[in-house]
C-alpha cells in the first residue's frame, strides 16, 4: 500500500473534474485521478453543444433559458441552482473560448449557435407569454463539441501543471467521522492499492449508462461515484430519473445527437408520418427528450415502428433532405457513425434509431457550490464535493435539456473548484483512519481468491437486459417490484463471482468485477426510487400513474442504503420564479 497526501483529490477527469482542477490555486497540491487517460473520459463523446443565452444568432435571455430548463425539468429542478447556471452560462462559454476552445463561428466571427430540443424563446420578445418557438442557443463546434471542450480543459490543466494519476481506479472513499478524508485507488498498471489522504475530495465520476443494455455511454460509465456514496451511508437523490435519448443508433445505442433534429432532421414511422406533430404540435421533433422517447416507444407499441432482423424495433430519423453542406460541415461525425456502424447512407436513406439510456439526472445531492449534502436539510459533508453528471444539484430535475449537461460541468465544476480553494485555505487534514484501505483490500482479495461459478460478463448482461426491460422508458409497479427481488438475487450471486486473471499487471478482469458491483449498487436506488415515485414526471413515466402529482411528488427523493430495503426520504424542491404549470410543447 502506498500513501499520498494532497490538499485536493479530484476523482474523474471529465469536463467537471478538469474544470474544478483549474480552480485550485498555486501553492496547493491537487491530484486528479481517472480510471482512463483524461481525454478518454466520456465528456469527449458529447456532440451537440453547450447551451448559453449569448444571443449571437437570435435574441435570447438567461431568463428564457432558465424558464426552459425549469419547464424541461418538469418543475423538479431547483430553481436557485438553475438561475445560477442560466445566468453564468454566457460567461462560462466565453471563458472556454478564451481557453482556446475552437467553436464554429457566425459570419461576424462570433460563436455560432443552433437550435436544440426544449430551448425556446417567446415568438414576440416583448410579450413573455406569447407562443414559444425554438431558439438558437446551443454553442457548438461541428458535432464534436464535447470532444474539443474536453481537450481544451485538459490542455489548460497541462498548462497549469495539474498532477494527473491516469489509469488509477478509485475503489472507495475514506470517511473520517463526519468528514471525508480521501480516497482509495488501485493503480491499474500494477494492481497496487494507493491511499490518497486529502483535505477535500471531489467526485466527478460521470454517469451510469452501463446499467442498461442499450446505452450511449462508454464502457467506463459504471456509476462508481454513486456506489462510493451509497456504501458510505450517504444518500443519492432522484435516481429514478434516467434519461433515454430518443435517437440512439438501432441495436448499438450510439448517439445521434439532437443536433441532427436541430438542423432540420425529422422522425418518421413506418407509414412515413412525421409523428411528432401529434405529440408536440408546436416544437414537433424538437420536443424534450423524454417526450420524444415516449412517442417513439408508443409508435412502436402501436405497430407503427419498423421491425429489425433481430426482432427489435426502431423508427426512422431522416436527414436526407438536408443540404449536403449541413451534413458535411455541421454533422460530419454522426453521419459517419450511421455509415460506419449501420451501413446507412444518411444523405440518401433514413437512419434507424431507438431510445438509448443516456444521462443520469439524479445523483449525489449537492449544494449550489458542489458540496455534498447528507440529508433533506442539506447539511453538508465536510471535505466532500461532487460535480458533473455524478452530482445532482439539481438543475435537470426530472429531465435534462440537451446542452445543459456540458454547461452544468463548467458552471458547477468551477463553483466546486472555487469552494474547495476556499475550504483548503484554513482546513486541516482530517485524521486518516487506520483501516482506510481495508475494505478495498478485502474486496480485491475476495474476488481474486473466489472459486465461485458466476461470470462477470454473464451477470452484467443479465442486469443490463433486465434493467432495460423493466426500468426503461415506461415503468409499472409489477415490473419494478419484480426488479427489487431481482436485484437482491443479483447481489447475492455477485458474491459468487470469480475471475480468470490472477495477475497483478493491468488486471482489467478484476476492474470489471469491481465495476459490476458498482453497477448493482447503482441499479438498486434506481429501481427503488422508481417504485416509490407514484407519478409520471419528466423521464419517469409510470403506466399505472400516468399523471404528474405535484401535491405528493413535487419532491426530491433521497435514498439511503440499509441492510434490507433502502430507506427513502423526501426533500423539498426550491421554487423561486416559476410556479409549476402543465408541461406542453
Amino acid at each position: 500500500m502506498i500513501k499520498h497526501q494532497y490538499d485536493v483529490v479530484i476523482v474523474g477527469a471529465g469536463g467537471a473534474g478538469l474544470r474544478a482542477a483549474l480552480e485550485i490555486p498555486e501553492g496547493f497540491s491537487c491530484a486528479v485521478l481517472s480510471k482512463v487517460f483524461p481525454t478518454r473520459s466520456h465528456t469527449g463523446a458529447a456532440q451537440g453543444g453547450i447551451g448559453a443565452s449569448l444571443g449571437n444568432e437570435e435574441e435570447d435571455s438567461w431568463e428564457w433559458h432558465m424558464f426552459d430548463t425549469v419547464k424541461g425539468s418538469d418543475y423538479l429542478g431547483d430553481q436557485d441552482a438553475i438561475e445560477i447556471m442560466a445566468k453564468d452560462a454566457p460567461r462560462a462559454i466565453i471563458e472556454l473560448e478564451h481557453m482556446g476552445m475552437p467553436f464554429s463561428r457566425t459570419p461576424e466571427g462570433k460563436i455560432a449557435q443552433r437550435r436544440f430540443g426544449g430551448h425556446t424563446r417567446p415568438e414576440d420578445p416583448s410579450d413573455p407569454d406569447s407562443k414559444r418557438v425554438a431558439v438558437k442557443r446551443s454553442c457548438y463546434s461541428a458535432d464534436r463539441t464535447g470532444h474539443v471542450m474536453l481537450h481544451t480543459l485538459y490542455e489548460n490543466c497541462l498548462k497549469q501543471k495539474v498532477h494527473f494519476f491516469s489509469e488509477f481506479f478509485v475503489t472507495d472513499m475514506i470517511m473520517s467521522g463526519k468528514s471525508c478524508a480521501g480516497v482509495v485507488a488501485m493503480d491499474l498498471a500494477t494492481s497496487e492499492v494507493h491511499v490518497f489522504h486529502a483535505k477535500a475530495v471531489m467526485l466527478a465520476t460521470g454517469g451510469y449508462g452501463r446499467v442498461f443494455r442499450i446505452t450511449s455511454n462508454a464502457h467506463v460509465g459504471t456509476g462508481d461515484g454513486y456506489s462510493f456514496i451509497y456504501n458510505n451511508g450517504l444518500p443519492l437523490q432522484d435516481m429514478e430519473f434516467v434519461q433515454f435519448h430518443p435517437t440512439g443508433l438501432w441495436k448499438l445505442g450510439i448517439l445521434i445527437s439532437e443536433a441532427a433534429r436541430g438542423e432540420g432532421g425529422i422522425l418518421l414511422n413506418n407509414k412515413g408520418e412525421r409523428f411528432m406533430e401529434r405529440y408536440a404540435p408546436t416544437v414537433k421533433d424538437l420536443a424534450p427528450r423524454d417526450m420524444v422517447s415516449r412517442a417513439i416507444i408508443t409508435e412502436i407499441r402501436e405497430g407503427r415502428g419498423f421491425k429489425g432482423s433481430d426482432g427489435t424495433s426502431y423508427v426512422h430519423l431522416d436527414v436526407s433532405h438536408l443540404p449536403k453542406e449541413v451534413l458535411n460541415d455541421k454533422l460530419p461525425e454522426i453521419t459517419g457513425f450511421a455509415r460506419t456502424y449501420l451501413g446507412v447512407e444518411p444523405t440518401k436513406e433514413p437512419i434507424p434509431v431507438q431510445p438509448t439510456a443516456h444521462y443520469a439526472m439524479g445523483g449525489i445531492p449537492t449544494t449550489i457550490d458542489a458540496e455534498v449534502t447528507r440529508d433533506k436539510k442539506r447539511t453538508t459533508v465536510t471535505g466532500l464535493y461532487a460535480a458533473g453528471e455524478a452530482a445532482c444539484v439539481s438543475v435537470h430535475g426530472s429531465n435534462r435539456l440537451g446542452t445543459n449537461s456540458l454547461l452544468d460541468l463548467i458552471v458547477f465544476g468551477r463553483r466546486g473548484g472555487k469552494a474547495i480553494a476556499k475550504f483548503i485555505k484554513d482546513a486541516e487534514f482530517a485524521p486518516l483512519p487506520e483501516d482506510a484501505a481495508d475494505r478495498t483490500i478485502a474486496r480485491i482479495d475476495a474476488i481474486m481468491n473466489s472459486k465461485g461459478k458466476e461470470k462477470v460478463g454473464a451477470l452484467r448482461t443479465e442486469l443490463q437486459e433486465k434493467m432495460m426491460d423493466k426500468v426503461g422508458v415506461f415503468r409499472n409497479e409489477k415490473d419494478l417490484t419484480e426488479m427489487t427481488t431481482e436485484i437482491m438475487s443479483l447481489r447475492e450471486r455477485y458474491k459468487g463471482v470469480s475471475i480468470d486473471d490472477k495477475g497483478k499487471i493491468f488486471n482489467t478482469d478484476l476492474m470489471e468485477a469491481i465495476e459490476l458491483g458498482n453497477l448493482i449498487d447503482t441499479a438498486e436506488p434506481i429501481i427503488h426510487g422508481a417504485l416509490v415515485r407514484q407519478e409520471s414526471r419528466g423521464a419517469h413515466s409510470r403506466e399505472d400513474f400516468p399523471n404528474r402529482d405535484d401535491k405528493k411528488w413535487l419532491k426530491h427523493t433521497l435514498i439511503y442504503k440499509t441492510d434490507g430495503k433502502p430507506k427513502i426520504d423526501l426533500k423539498p424542491v426550491s421554487i423561486t420564479r416559476f410556479q409549476p404549470k402543465e408541461r406542453k410543447y
Binding site: A45, P102, R144, E155, L158, A218, F337, G457
Partner: protein, 235 residues
Amino acid sequence: MKVTLRIQRYNPERDSEPYYQEFIVEAGDEKERILDLLLQVKWKYDGTLTFRRSCAHGVCGSDGMRINGKNRLACSTLLRDVNYKKPIVIEPLPSIPIVKDLIVDMSDFYKKYEAVKPYLINNSPPPEHERYQSNEDAEKLFESAKCILCGCCTTSCPSSWSDENYIGPAALLKAYRFVFDTRDEAADERLDVVDTPDGAWRCHTIFNCVEACPKEINITWHISKLKKRLAEREM
C-alpha cells in the same frame, strides 16, 4: 457465422516473448465491431485477455491496435472491413513497448504531445466577449482538432519506427492546431520545437499516418503546412 481471431498475447508475469493464440467467436453479421468480438473473448472464453476500451464508437481513442497488419481502432473496424474468412490477426500497436497483451505503454506518445505546448498561449488580456475569429479561420483548425490521441498514426510511421525520438505525426498535428490558431501568440515557441531533425523534418511524406488515422485526418497535409511555415520563417 464463426470467425477466428489470432491475437498476440503477452503477459509480463509469465511470458518472456509474445505469442499468438487463436479464438473462434460467433459473429452476428459482417457489421460486427472487432471490439465486440474481443469483448466476447474476454467475457466468454478468457478473462485474462487485456486491452483498453471505453466509448466503443471511435471517439475516445482507447483501443488503437494493429488489425491484419494495420493500425486501427477495434471499435471502428467492422468485420466487413477485413478479410474475416481467414483468421483476423490482432496485435498491439507496433514500435512501442508492450505492457500486456494489446495494452501498450503510451507515455512516450504523450510526452511528445506535451512537447509542442498543446494549449492556447495568449498573454494579452482577453476582451469581455469572445475573441473573434472568422469561420474560415476556425474551420482551418477543425480537422486537426478532431484528433483523439489514439496513437495509431505515430506508431504507424516508419520514421518513428527507426528512431523513437521522432516527435511523430500526432504531435506535429497538434502543433499545427495551435500554430495556425489566429488567437494564439506563441507560434514561434512551438515552431522552435518542431524545427529540429527530430521534428517536422523527419516526416518523409510516407502517408502511413493518414492511412492509419481513424478520424480520417489528412495529417500529412497539416505537416506540410507546418514545414512551409518553418521554411518561410527561415527565409
